[in-house]
Symmetry: C2
Subunit: 320 residues, 2 copies
Amino acid sequence: MQAIEYILPDSNKTLEDISLLSSIDKEVLYGSLGDLKIPVSSDAETPFTLATQAVLKLLKSNCIDTKKLDYIIYASSGVNDYQIWSPAAKIQKIINADNAFCFEISNGCNAFMAALHLVNGILNIENPGSALLIMSDTLSKFIDYSETENLHLLSFSDGADAVYIDNYSNKNLLISSALVTDGAYSDVVKLSYGGVFEYNAEKKSNSKYMSVNLPDESRESFYKTLINNYIHVIEKCIVEAKLKTENIKYFLLGRNSQKVLDAVFKYFLVSPDKILTTQLLGHVGSIDVAITLKICLKKSLVHSGDYVLIASTGSGYQRN
Amino acid sequence: MQAIEYILPDSNKTLEDISLLSSIDKEVLYGSLGDLKIPVSSDAETPFTLATQAVLKLLKSNCIDTKKLDYIIYASSGVNDYQIWSPAAKIQKIINADNAFCFEISNGCNAFMAALHLVNGILNIENPGSALLIMSDTLSKFIDYSETENLHLLSFSDGADAVYIDNYSNKNLLISSALVTDGAYSDVVKLSYGGVFEYNAEKKSNSKYMSVNLPDESRESFYKTLINNYIHVIEKCIVEAKLKTENIKYFLLGRNSQKVLDAVFKYFLVSPDKILTTQLLGHVGSIDVAITLKICLKKSLVHSGDYVLIASTGSGYQRN
């Protein structure tokens, strides 16, 4: 990764705002989510407008020849300004990246990790080249604050990242990556709005918001699976990179609920100051980890030769 | 590619049906699209139900150890049963592919080519493995037959493919691939339904169908760019594979309008019997080329050592 920039909407919601909207006690929210001041998009701010701003910011602060870009990959939770429409191709035109191949990938809040893994596959010694990764999500639009049982959803915020990667230089190398999916829980969160199922049913009014289908009796096994898989990929990644936990300078993790983060800390016996997340910003969809990495680089917390581990629910990787 | 299966809905529309629905003369439709008997989905048939049927058909007729699958990639035009929901993960659970990593890619009707290119990158000598590619689209649901100015859209039909790929064997190898995007035309076709833009505007009733925004004065340059890019990637692909046009036994092409297909035939001086498309079935979204390849293999039209070129609007590749 040669360069990262991110954009967050100006408006925000504090823990107090969320408490008022959800009628959930502020202390209860704090216990589950920590303190929050989450960036939330206005109606005029869409996944595409935020993504475009992040890309233009990246191009302004870095010397990138857009004509030489081989790939523009737009990675997100999958809700775009329109359907059957490519935000990657639209941005290609704006930045004159005439020779790029553009496509979208969806992988929920893990989309950045999935995109990195793919780019590492398609750009290699035999196929050198460059890619622009764009992550953009406005998940707060799809949260019904008055009806959300799953507190973690109340921390969902909005933003966009633009990341430039090439394999001509050896800056911020991806050393190993590991990914896993458990489809048993694929129906836990979904948005009926915009799906074929809703289209057929013609029941549009009831489906504006993400629904959470996690009965109390499944809650424990859901979190157990999530935590086990999280630990599994992080461990696999460290082993594949021929490293040990103590070699990792920082763990940059997606902004999960405190319960999930605590389980990871405990397993790897990492001191809390080695763990970095988006904290106050909440869970910015697929944007979290690239924001934290950018802050980490900007503050010169890492130097040449250092290893950091980057992970979001479902994946992990290292760079030096 | 070790195995391919596909599923088409039982219901269909003939050229006569489309003529009645669109009030466009049958001869005019025939001149632009050729004869048609297109499979169209019922309300109960969704991208996910068709995809699942295709996958189960693939597993029934081939010996595939689903526990050993490394990737499940769902590639389509991007409209799923729900949003923020992974059809790939849902299918993972159904087929017990416990060790797979699942995600979606969107690349319009070129999604199969994009997925093949990615799989060829992530599965390599250093990272051997296997992938299940699933293509599924029900684009006919989004066509307003009474309002469609672009005749090509009237040939859009529904279906799903399942393709198994590993790099342990050397059956049906991908030798080269080439892809290009021109974002200048990214707004030509889009579906407001389900997009954030529509969500904000709250204007749901007017946006059930794909809109085509191709003014008469842009039509010529649009087709010129499309045809030039199509020829460019096919040629690039043949050159990269160190082959000549006469080495290619068959050209398996997406079901474009006759105008686009004719331009390709003429440029490469290929005799019409070497060109295979889905013909009567119309343009089955991202499903076209895998259907034609399956039919080609089933009829033993190709043998060990043969080269075929597979291309859809925007990409091409060869296999032996």
